[in-house]
């Protein structure tokens, strides 16, 4: 099946040289594709390139259309939604308001239906509707960030290190929901340092090192190969958050 | 290129001072007058560099301390109670003490709140001056006798005041440099970056803030004293809230983190409107405003903070270029 998102020779950077170079990747619908990499490998840079907020070049195709020159809002409208590292919730707005901002493009009826769908995915958010987003726990904020992205009726979700700073139990919940979302027919590109939990829900995986893809294979194969994990990744577990 | 040696730098500095002192023979009197004013604003702004640029406390009320210094000198000189060389330090001390007293309650506030409270001081100062007519001449102002050069030197009062100002400026810069290079400077930086962290690390945040406030007030008072002697006539309106716009512009455009920025800023805020006025009388303020906007857009850290100046600075001090601290 043709993938929803296709990258061929993509570069991305911040204006002074390319941080990410010659990346080729396919993200099909209905499954989770994982991009692993240590700190500084370029994962966030790649994501930002895809969502259009930094400079990029090369072939970037969303459902056959070349989006490499599109503006961020156009890319979002086409269904590619990026959930940034650190979650990016709007702290001074309530949970409900966060969802409303994201869902503002929908028609009135569409909004209701989408919101119900999101709250079904994340029941916790229904309970916390009137609470300030800034006052929630990390796990709840992560759920809100993903829920918000879902409000935009995405065809593909880019998730940047959703496990960061979360306790193992919460992590499991979040990743289960991610798998569920994939099962509902959405393509997911998951970027992570934490190999164990992400490979468990993925079909395919790739490894990013110093801005380039060094390995691409079935997730199961990479998970089974301890050499890969040890060589390229920091040990799974809490790590210091730095920007890549 | 190798960095210049210390001797070379000192020699260059001395040369610079000598050239500056040669002003009366290089410039016509009216230009000299303007230069004096530039340096006066510069001296006052040095204090703000210390308070706002280093310690991170924004004050838009130092016009009051400037005015206090001006009136102190004006009263002493007009009543012939003291000569200039005594009146100036007296003005600085009076202003500094007032800054110390005002700072104590005021510095409990921070950020914009502090700015508003200092603005309140700036608003009230001219009103108070106008109340005490016996002392200050009230609304009508106070005339200051021209300061003649001592020892029979063949210098006009304008030239003499200019040279006094140059010397005071140099001393003020050196003093500022000495104050901020050691522990005080590091403490102020810590306060600026994060008060809570500094406190946790044992820095007496309140004490250092108050000290910075007092020092900056003293600088403003010194500038004000020079102003009174240079201009020859002072009135309350000159020391209102709007004067802080000049100081703020000088500090920000020159570079709030750098002592030299204060002097560059002082020159900018006096000379740009001056030159603009020669180009077009009607558009002076417009040109000045546009220049300010352009300067801050191209050099958001001020002129002395611009990347190219920073490279030169590092070359001079022999520091390897690396990441700028904050």
């Amino acid at each position: 099946m043709t993938a929803l998102l296709n990258l061929r020779g993509m570069d991305a950077g911040y204006g002074v040289g390319w941080v990410v170079q010659d990346v080729s990747l396919s993200v099909p619908v209905g499954e989770v594709t994982v991009l692993l990499g240590a700190n500084g490998a370029g994962k966030t840079t790649l994501m930002r390139g895809l969502s259009g907020v930094i400079e990029r070049r090369g072939r970037i195709e969303l459902d056959g259309q070349d989006i490499s020159r599109w503006s961020p809002s156009r890319i979002v409208r086409a269904g590619l939604v990026h959930v940034p590292q650190g979650r990016g919730v709007l702290a001074s707005l309530t949970v409900d308001e966060n969802l409303r901002v994201a869902g503002s493009r929908n028609s009135r009826l569409g909004f209701q239906a989408t919101r119900d769908h999101v709250l079904a995915l994340f029941p916790r958010l229904a309970e916390r509707g009137a609470q300030m987003a800034g006052g929630m726990s990390g796990g709840e904020q992560q759920m809100l960030a993903i829920g918000r992205a879902m409000m935009m009726q995405p065809r593909i979700l880019l998730l940047d290190e959703p496990s960061l700073g979360l306790a193992p139990i919460i992590r499991r919940q979040v990743f289960d929901t991610i798998a569920t979302i994939a099962g509902q027919g959405i393509a997911i590109l998951l970027v992570e340092q934490n190999a164990d939990i992400s490979l468990a829900i993925a079909r395919r995986a790739a490894l990013l090192s110093q801005g380039r893809i060094v390995i691409e294979d079935d997730a199961a194969a990479i998970a089974a190969s301890s050499v890969v994990v040890d060589t390229y990744l920091s040990p799974a577990g809490p790590t210091m958050e730095t920007s890549t | 290129m190798k960095s210049p040696s210390k001797t070379t730098l000192v020699a260059l500095a001395v040369l610079g001072i000598v050239i500056a002192l040669a002003g009366p023979w290089l410039f016509p009197q009216y230009r000299l007058d303007r230069l004096t004013l530039s340096l006066i604003y510069g001296v006052s702004t040095i204090g703000l560099v210390i308070l706002t640029g280093r310690a991170g406390q924004l004050s838009i009320g130092h016009s009051a301390f400037f005015g206090l210094g001006a009136y102190a000198v004006a009263i002493l000189l007009s009543r012939e109670l003291a000569p200039l060389w005594l009146a100036l330090p007296f003005a600085a001390v009076v202003a500094g003490l007032s800054g110390w007293l005002f700072g104590k309650p005021a510095l409990r506030l921070s950020g914009f709140n502090l700015a508003i409270v200092t603005a309140a001081l700036a608003i009230v100062f001219p009103l108070l001056v106008q109340r005490f007519t016996g002392l200050t001449g009230g609304h009508a102002g106070l005339a200051v006798p021209p300061q003649h050069a001592p020892w029979g030197l063949a210098l006009s009062p304008v030239s003499w005041i200019y040279m006094v100002t140059v010397v005071v400026t140099v001393l003020a810069l050196v003093l500022g440099w000495l104050l901020t290079r050691g522990r005080l400077g590091r403490a102020l930086d810590a306060v600026r970056l994060n008060e809570a962290t500094a406190e946790a690390n044992g820095v007496d945040v309140a004490g250092y803030k108050q000290a910075a406030f007092a020092i900056s007030a003293a600088y403003a008072g010194l500038g004000g004293g020079l102003y009174a002697a240079a201009v020859g006539y002072i009135a309350p309106e000159a020391f209102g809230l709007l004067l802080n716009l000049t100081f703020l512009a000088a500090m920000l455009a020159g570079g709030s983190r750098y002592l030299s920025g204060a002097i560059v800023g002082g020159l900018l805020v006096q000379l740009v409107p001056e030159l603009a006025g020669e180009v077009s009388q009607a558009l002076t303020q417009v040109i000045f405003g546009v220049v300010l906007i352009v300067v801050i857009t191209l050099a958001p850290r001020g002129l002395m903070g611009a990347a190219i100046i920073d490279r030169i600075r590092k070359w001079i001090t022999g520091v390897r270029p690396g990441r700028l601290a904050n």
Partner: protein, 293 residues
């Protein structure tokens, strides 16, 4: 007793003017995080434009509508042209840009409309209502009406409209807002445009009471900043309450405290603000900011 109440009413009337400017300042701050020291002078430009249009013969209300539309465009253009490049730079850089703007706007008005004061046509008829010995002018009633409308509008706007939510989103976290489809640039321009409209309204309401001169807005700006600070910079309703309190305190101390009198009357509200801020740094209605070590 009657005199006291009258003084309170007169003070509140002044305070309402301060509040009008204060609301504009709060709006810019909430929308873009910038304290716009040029708010008054921008309003001055719009007010002069309105005067000019009415001087050409159009009725004042028509001129006002045109002027308000102009102020919106003007405010949005200033945000886009002058403030946007400084968005991610040190905050004091925006302050200096605002100061530059202050100077430019002020002198442009002086150039286009040189000379001394001009009379500004009143929006309300010069009727004074009297009730139980207390006098209240029609302009004051209009002023309070406008303020109330502003407060209601802003409350509805920020809580219940998409644009209001998006503006809050852009102000809260512009980088994150982009990811959920908010056009942050447009929101910033909208914020400045709206604030300029509010500033223009303040100018419209103050100009008939004092003569239209280039110096008239600066004192109002100061009062406006004080009102906004007292009320808590993030709350427009706070600015209104703050402004009225300032006006009343000022008037009462001027009348009843001879040591202060009319020349020093501004000192009392300033002192009040100082005290309030010492006890409640976030202002009367503001939200406390948490700073972590």
């Amino acid at each position: 007793m009657i005199l006291l109440l009258q003084q309170i009413i007169d003070g509140a009337a002044n305070g309402a003017l301060y509040a009008a400017m204060g609301v504009a300042i709060v709006l810019v701050y909430r929308a873009t995080g910038v304290l716009n020291f040029a708010q008054g002078e921008m309003a001055l430009v719009s007010t002069f434009v309105i005067w000019q249009i009415s001087a050409w013969g159009l009725p004042i209300y028509v001129a006002a509508v045109i002027g308000i539309a102009f102020s919106f465009v003007f405010g949005a253009a200033i945000e886009r042209g002058v403030m946007r490049p400084l968005r991610n730079k040190p905050p004091l850089a925006s302050v200096l840009a605002a100061l530059g703007l202050f100077l430019v706007c002020n002198q442009v008005c002086a150039l286009i409309w040189p000379g001394a004061q001009r009379e500004f046509p009143a929006l309300a008829s010069p009727v004074t209502f009297e009730l139980a010995g207390l006098r209240l002018g029609a302009e004051t009633i209009l002023l309070f009406g406008v303020l109330a409308a502003q407060a209601v509008f802003l409350w509805l706007f920020f809580r219940h409209t998409t644009w209001g939510l998006k503006m809050r989103a852009a102000a809260d976290n512009a980088d994150a807002a982009v990811y959920i489809g908010v056009d942050t640039g447009r929101m910033f321009m909208l914020g400045w445009g709206l604030a300029a409209v509010f500033g223009c309204l303040a100018g419209l309401l103050v100009a008939p009471t004092i003569l239209l001169t280039t110096g008239m807005m600066f004192p109002l700006l100061i009062y406006g900043l004080c009102a906004a600070t007292l009320g808590g910079l993030t709350n427009p309703f706070g600015a209104i309450v703050g402004g009225v309190i300032i006006g009343v305190v000022e008037n009462l101390t001027a009348t009843y405290v001879p040591a202060i009198g009319t020349d020093l009357k501004i000192a009392s509200p300033l002192l009040l603000i100082f005290l309030v801020l010492l006890l409640r740094p976030q202002g009367l209605f503001g939200v406390k900011q948490v700073v972590r070590a």
